[in-house]
């Protein structure tokens, strides 16, 4: 098999395992959908004032917000969890005992995460359109996809790097959630921007969740400040991604930590 065929081979089985795993389907697919439905139903009639003073419907705000969460969940969270579980099961070590090049294994998992992230974009955009009449930004689609691709890739490397800090399967969910949940709150994913103090937002700006969210909102909402690809914020996300890559290369382990 050529290297590319081998990546496709690995990816195919990663997909099967992903969709059959109730935990991954719930947290990666169902949870963002439920969040969007709840936020849409509870805060549907209200408006949010964006940074440039433009007022948009809360649902218009929450669709890109929850897509941001879903992308991070499919990549950083999903990879960190599934790689730690596979590592502690001994499956990573086992695959190193085969002729499979290690990068192919990782590429299969990363491919799986990115495909799921793109599916979540489509699913949440469609729900937003059908239930809450939030327009799909067809003309800005290239900008949306570029933003998603850069964000997804960076949160993948951060997820892989994070596995080095997770000692066991049981610790995976608490550590990942302890990092991400506060950042979702502080970055305006759950609580809209105009309800957060500027201090909170400038604090959140030190972390890539907020940078990615700002870039995504700019690409997704035509009324948002700026339009198209937000290269400034994406550059910050990319720096995080490169840092994640370096940490991952240095600290990623194939052998179980527990025994």
């Amino acid at each position: 098999m050529s290297a590319l065929a081998l990546v496709a081979h690995q990816f195919r089985y990663d997909q099967k395992a992903f969709w059959r795993n109730p935990a991954s389907v719930f947290f990666t697919v169902m949870f963002p959908v439920v969040l969007l439905l709840i936020f849409g139903a509870v805060f549907g009639g209200k408006h949010v004032e964006l940074g440039n003073g433009e007022s948009v419907k809360t649902t218009t705000y929450y669709v890109p917000a929850i897509i941001t969460l879903a992308v991070i969940s499919a990549t950083m969270q999903g990879l960190a969890m599934s790689l730690v579980i596979a590592r502690e099961d001994g499956r990573l070590k086992r695959s190193r005992g085969t002729p499979l090049p290690p990068w192919v294994f990782i590429a299969g998992r990363v491919g799986n995460s990115i495909v799921v992230a793109v599916l979540m974009l489509a699913l949440l955009a469609a729900i937003g359109r059908v239930l809450f009449s939030v327009p799909i930004p067809w003309s800005d689609l290239p900008a949306v996809l570029v933003t998603l691709a850069i964000g997804a890739a960076c949160f993948c490397t951060l997820g892989i790097a994070l596995t080095a800090a997770i000692p066991s399967q049981d610790a995976a969910a608490p550590i990942v959630n302890a990092l991400l949940l506060p950042l979702y709150f502080l970055s305006g994913i759950f609580i809209p921007d105009d309800e957060l103090s500027s201090g909170v937002i400038s604090f959140a700006n030190h972390f890539p969740v907020r940078d990615f969210f700002e870039a995504f909102i700019q690409a997704y909402i035509p009324a948002a400040p700026g339009s198209g690809v937000d290269w400034g914020n994406l550059a910050v996300v990319a720096i995080w991604g490169v840092a994640g890559l370096l940490l991952a290369v240095k600290f990623f382990r194939w052998t179980p930590k527990g025994g």
Binding site: M1, K16, G90, G97, T98, P99
Partner: protein, 279 residues
Amino acid sequence: MSYGETEAVRGIDLEVMPGEIFAFLGPNGAGKTTTVEILEGYRRRTGGEVVVLGEDPQRAGRAWRDRIGIVLQSCRVDPYLTVRESLALYAGYYQHPRPVDEVIVLVGLEGKADERARKLSGGQQRRLDVGMALVGDPELLFLDEPTTGFDPSARRQAWDVIAGLREIGKTVFLTTHYMDEAQRLADRVTIISGGEIVARGTPADLGQRGRQGATIRYRRDGEEVTVQTETPVQALHELTGEALARGEDLEGLEVTRPTLEDVYLQLTATAEAEDGAAE
């Protein structure tokens, strides 16, 4: 022809012949897994020379990995893939895999081919694990304690699978802490204890090594009588002769030789005692 030769851990020196089942036996913590991980290329050694299939495992690449199969001491298979899928996934990693259906038969999982691994028993999952090591059609298989924690029937089934590997011409490096497993499967056995080799030979040789005569047991007037003897035939002749002369029976009469298990316990206990003395 030598398959591999190593001097590691504490001057371990061993050689495995093509086509044999080689058992590397020792109690927990004896250095079995360290040694086998050096042979598999997982662990870097601090000194000595290791050649496995003509290459140094810590420098060997994909082509070498194509020729070996590994079953780790503790490894869970992907719970959400079926038996057939896990085997097909691994088959794709190798240049010349065995047909998946053939492997399913070899590991005795015909009835479970389309069952997800999470629905399999521990023994069945372990046999799938062996199948995944086998599907690349390797020349040499490493099995690290393949039956630890099994119930007797699962162990017997796993043994049948391993014995079957010899019939298809595989070389097997088996580590175990069960004497009966080595006795049942291995062509040759090497016993390691405290990081040192304490005995080696065929299972039968090892039995000889520990022979200190036989034990004759019987009951007389309800009391257990034990006779240790170097010459069991003569001792038995005298005993039964006397009994016949008195017109009595020798109740519960039995003659036993030390089992391989006894030899093993004796050998490993000696090594541990010496270790203790040295510290």
